[in-house]
Amino acid sequence: MDTTNLLEVSNLSVDFETDQGLVHAVRDISFSLKPGEILGIVGESGSGKSVSMYAIMGLLAANGRIGGGKITFDGDDISRGAFPSEKAYLHHMNHIRGNKMAMVFQDPMTFLNPLQTIERQITEPLLNHTSMTRAQAHERALELMVQVGIPSPEKRIHQYPHQFSGGMRQRIIIAIALANNPKLLIADEPTTALDVTIQAQILELIRDLTRKSGTSTIMITHDLGVVACLCDRILIMYGGKIMEAGTDREIFYSPNHPYTRGLLSCINNPEAEEKELVPIPGSPPDLLKPPMGCPFVDRCEQAMKICKVRMPDITHLSDTHSSSCWCNEVLRRQAVAQTAAEKNREGGRA
């Protein structure tokens, strides 16, 4: 393992038992995260982006289970398999969550407890994970509220969630998440429920706070604009698989996978020259019976016979850029054939 990575996920799979059968929500994904990096995970609903993060945090719903894979966080193996019992696993995860890793959810109202004051909710992770006294935790809570930009914290700390607006509630959640200076912050669509001007405030806040504290961030979103403005590196997920991974510039300026290219051509960049939107035809696959091959095959213009039956291997296009598409294999073989032909020709001449 590369010791410089904060988080390393290899071959993670997650399944859900439902009335209709087993849903393979995440299938064999691998990625890593460096300290201080902001990673964006982009995908449409049902692509498995949130579920994979819940699996890492140990927060899967009761009918979900990790089908396999290894998760290494900050040097420790935190996959379920690394623990002798469910109890030991939960105990360990309770120790890490809210402490070394924290999560910001999409809907702040369901995350906050409506019956507890903000003070109680911000100090909870402090009292649980550190040896702070109540008075110290109160001080720290006020400090956090200033950091996330909540005006008149002395007064507002005694209020209840319903007395705050949506944007303010999201700030409170961020304050709770950052209470113990986590090494990893996972933000699951943190701005989707907010208005654009409030979204800009919250994104700015996440960027500033994580840059200052060196926290690594994983940003889950369906909004390509948000990742472009915030993230260093991007994973594109579809049908429970990672289709393409790369730096922000690689994904936006030289996308390799047909799905990524499709996504980019069906969003409107209002700054650019007015162009016709090119939608991706069809709709995402049913993960009750996931396709044998590439999940994108039914919507892909370049689909070949092999795409239907086998998932392509990952092609590394650069140190940071990788993509799973059979087209790359075709190109590779053509290149090999061409060099062979050239060699032959040279050989013939000599």
């Binding site: 405030q201 604009g225 403005c229 922000d248 969003i267 209002p270 939608p279 995402p284």
Partner: protein, 326 residues
């Protein structure tokens, strides 16, 4: 026709009574406040603004779901605010609406065939069952669905397909004006483009006027000929869509535009944002004077008076400080 405009809205006010209990003091929300604009036949007018700015209330007032408190709505020269009986029935044929949530706007107990024939039955179009069936098939084709979907129920369709069914339902009565209230915001990115292209294609073929309500100003700019920006019940700026987008004049429009995350890392990461302080004031007690004055970086004494809508080039703007930069 009145002055040549297809839709003419003048000084429209929509007020909701939100008084709780019998003895509490009366509480009114001024959801739409003195709004005037026009839409031409076959044109798309985009209405943007954040949640609670009154854009949906305005749309609903135009179709007659909400009764406006005062003001005029003229469609095709006819005042439609006081319609009832037969004339209201006929008006509904001309103006239709597409709703945001395709899961809530289709009756789960009706088949797609029934959903699409219902408006024809109500309006007495295509009276024979055979003719109606033919028309339903044609509608399904228009919106890109298969004719054998007729016997299925809404739950068998995805969000994008349901939105196509909603569109087909509005087209059943051959309207000339469709109000689209956030028609794409519940859909995935790759599906949004499908619906936008479908709406554009239908408009081209049938010369339908759209009032396109959305909070995604990028998409609104893409589909609209003209844009109106709303804030706290007021229309603050109106103009040609690329004109408003590239040369906004109202400080709120400027802030709203700079807040959009642009899907281009070099532009998105480097550009300067105007981050607005604070939040939208409660519509229960709006600020006196200019509604934006509590968050506006340019606000001063003059802003305690309500600014009038004024013409600046091709825009109309309601601001005392149009020529100052933010």
């Amino acid at each position: 026709m009145n002055g040549g405009h297809y839709v003419e809205i003048s000084h429209l006010d929509v007020i909701y009574d939100v008084t709780k209990g019998v003895f509490s003091p009366k509480q009114l929300v001024h959801a739409v406040n003195d709004v005037s604009f026009t839409i031409e036949a076959g044109e798309t007018f985009g209405l943007v603004g954040e949640s609670g700015c009154g854009k949906s209330s305005l749309g609903r007032a135009i179709v007659g779901i909400n009764k406006p408190r005062s003001g005029d709505i003229r469609i095709n020269g006819q005042d439609v605010t006081h319609l009832h009986g037969r004339s209201l029935h006929d008006f509904r044929r001309e103006v239709q609406m597409i709703f945001q949530d395709p899961y809530a706007s289709l009756n789960p107990r009706m088949t797609i065939g029934e959903i699409l024939s219902e408006p024809m039955v109500i309006h007495g179009l295509h009276r024979s069952p055979g003719a109606r069936e033919e028309r339903v098939t044609e509608l399904l084709r228009t919106v890109g669905l298969k004719p054998d979907h007729v016997r299925r129920y809404p739950h068998e369709f995805s969000g994008g397909q349901r939105q196509r069914i909603s569109i087909a339902r509005t087209l059943a009565v051959n309207p000339r004006f469709i109000i689209c209230d956030e028609p794409i915001s519940a859909l995935d990115v790759s599906i949004q483009a499908q619906i936008i292209n479908l709406l554009k294609q239908i408009q081209k073929e049938r010369n339908i006027a759209y009032l396109f309500i959305a909070h995604d100003i990028g998409m609104v700019k893409h589909i609209s000929d003209r844009i109106g920006v709303m804030y706290l019940g007021h229309l603050v700026e109106v103009g040609d869509s690329s004109e408003v987008y590239f040369h906004p004049l109202h400080p709120y429009t400027k802030a709203l535009l700079s807040a959009i995350p642009i899907s281009d890392p070099d532009v998105g990461k480097s550009r300067k944002r105007i981050i607005l302080e604070g939040e939208i004031p409660s519509p229960l007690n709006p600020p006196a004077g200019c509604p934006f004055s509590t968050r506006c970086p340019l606000a001063d004494e003059a802003c305690r008076r309500m600014p009038k809508m004024q013409q600046f080039g091709s825009h109309q703007v309601a601001c005392h400080h149009v020529n100052q930069s933010v």
